[in-house]
Amino acid sequence: MMNKYADVLIIGAGLSGLTAAAKAAEQGKKVMLVAKGMGAVGLSSGCIDLWGYNLKDPNQVCQEPVAEIAGLCTMNPQHPYARLQDVLEESLLFFRRICHENHNPYLDNRGGNWLLPTALGTLRPTYLVPASMAVGDLQQVSCFLVVGFRELKDFYPDVLVANLKKSGALQAHCRLNSLMVSAGGGELSPNTLAHRLENPRVLVRIVDQIKPHLLPGAVLLFPPVLGERWDSRVAKNLAENLGHPVYEVANIPPALPGQRLQQMLLHHVKGQGVEVVIGCTVNGARVAGKRCTEVQATGAGKKIRIFAKTVVLATGSFLGGGLESEPGKAWESIFRLPVETGREKWSARDFLAMEGHLFNQKGIKVNEYLQPVDDQGQVIIENVLITGANLAGCNYPIEKCGNGVAVASGYKAGKLAGEAGE
């Protein structure tokens, strides 16, 4: 059997796991990251949501997410943010620094939320966005041109235009036009199209097709396929050649901005010396007293034992397999940490219910050091730290806080693991 040794073992390759790996490695620790598969950040919008709507009036977009989160922590001390407030701003700076260093800058909207159009023409509040998605104040735009590709399913400019018109977020006389262009034929997935657009000759042909339709002052909206890699110049080149601002809007997965963020973070942590093993499933652990002494994993049929001083559990919720359930009960899948179930119904009647679904709030309770605790608040395992969607108490689809909790908790776990003594 193969043995591996590390100071810090991260289980999971999502946003919180990768952030934890980056932070722990920065502090000079020997870090290993294992994951069953590619994490969910590649399926995300690529934007970092912090807090979407006002606590008092959920119909209003939250203007100051950081201040709102401070209020939330007093109101709801069970929310994960209540354990993360001390590092929240620090973690966002850290995240932005990594993005900046890797030529994939993430922008904030002067401390407030961005309100960005989606592929459906709805508006979505979010806190940090890649430069290619940062459409500024919609009220300032006199004309939008929404461009789709004939080769791409799942993006219909007319739908975006029709819904954005109805949104009431635009100035009264804002003109909205749509245009379909061709990138050379075929029926392409977002990735194949993004790859094709990296070819300068293809881009020239796209520019030629768009130019006759440009009105003065037009801002162009595209599906999120403008470039493969995190440091791609496709969006910039398009904007330069057209002489108009060009942005990508959020769309259903698989969309490129989330994948770019994932690839960038993986590349970054590997560069920091983190050993990354994807396709390796952790299926058990040995716990002596209150310490995890060994983690057991299987990679392609082969058993591996991993010995680490600190383990960061970033395996996600039910969808990612971090939590498991049966009718009436739920538990964490590796350490069998308890997940409180209660007597209420786990889901609302409507799929898109405004109050969200209770199962999204299920997770592991932690103390301020992110250690798992039981009903009485007693630490269950000292050297296991919990992050991201493994944490109990957040209703991320409704609150718009998933990636914010992931960055802050990943950062904090990485920092704590980095500070852990010998």
Partner: protein, 404 residues
Amino acid sequence: MSSDHRFALDNCIKCSICVSHCPVARVTDKFAGPKQNGPDLERFRLEEPAAVHSSIGYCSNCKGCDVACPSGVAISAMNCRAKGEYVSLHGASLRDKILARVEWMGKAARLAPSLVNRLAGFQPLRLLAEKMLGVSAVMTLPRYAEKTFLELYKSKNIDEKKTKVLYYPGCYVNYNAPEVGLALAEVLAHNNIQLEVEQFNCCGLPLITNGLLDMARDQAKNNLEKLQGYINKGYHIITTCPSCNLTLRREYQKLFQLNTDSLNEKMLDAFEYLGMLLQQGKMVARFEELPLRIGYHQPCHLKAAGCGVPSREILQLIPGLRVEDLDAGCCGLSGSYGFKKEKYAISQEIGRNGFNAVKELGVHQVISECGMCQLQIHHLTGAAVYHPLQVLAQACGPGRWLAK
């Protein structure tokens, strides 16, 4: 259909992570992608085995889908079976039948290796082969060695007291790159361990990827029987080719339902074995300084083994050596795939990331465990490409392991 298999199929949540990580689907729309060909069509194949899409021929079997899948779906095995089904329905081309028989080609080339090498570089013949057979006229062909590894390796007088391990060299080392096997013997001798050899069949991977599953199954049974004999005698089995390793341990079980439990326990990549010695304090970690900065390319099939990069820890012990990860994904060649006329351009397009990474890092030497990856990186960049064992052998003492 085993319940295991059914379970794996039901695990697919249609998230498309596999599609977005497929190197082939990234660069071409000729391949419908791992999800459609795999779990999507597999539902139909539960009732009708012939439900295979012709684009399955464009799967390169890199297994990136298996690695990316967070739900444990055996996507590549479904695709391999589908390709087998497609070939059993429509037949394989003469070219594919030839390219699949790597062992047979190696044996045939034995008759006159230098002539074969010369003909492989003779452009009119290559153009003819492209026209008649569909083998790309521009892809660099692997060179055959003057003598096979099995001919070159003389087990020095067997010392019964020494620890002995069995080596499964695979076709590439035996016929094309015997220096890799010799480097392994050198490194093990440095650690007082004796390497034993045996005649094996090709692991069968080229047959599998060309859809000739029945023939691959027969070779699998032969190989497994022989290997089991050594395992029963207490041997560790060492491999240097990640694709052979994965095929023997994993594909035999996934595709042919053969029991590979003891192989999973006893068959180790050379660096895994050395790592084990190191951890047990049994490794002679006395290395000469090697002031080199080299790139490292992780082969897809080593990635798919899910145990990281076993050479990493050991190469770090060599003073002066700096290994930089190319982190460029699939090289694009995928065994016989990139030699096929209609796939050559796809293969080169996939490999562009590797080309860019070598240029960006400014390295002139690259190491990689897989012979085919080595060939492709050399073809793309002109860099000298070695197996990491050659670097380690060089650090163990005299000899010219990095000469090319």
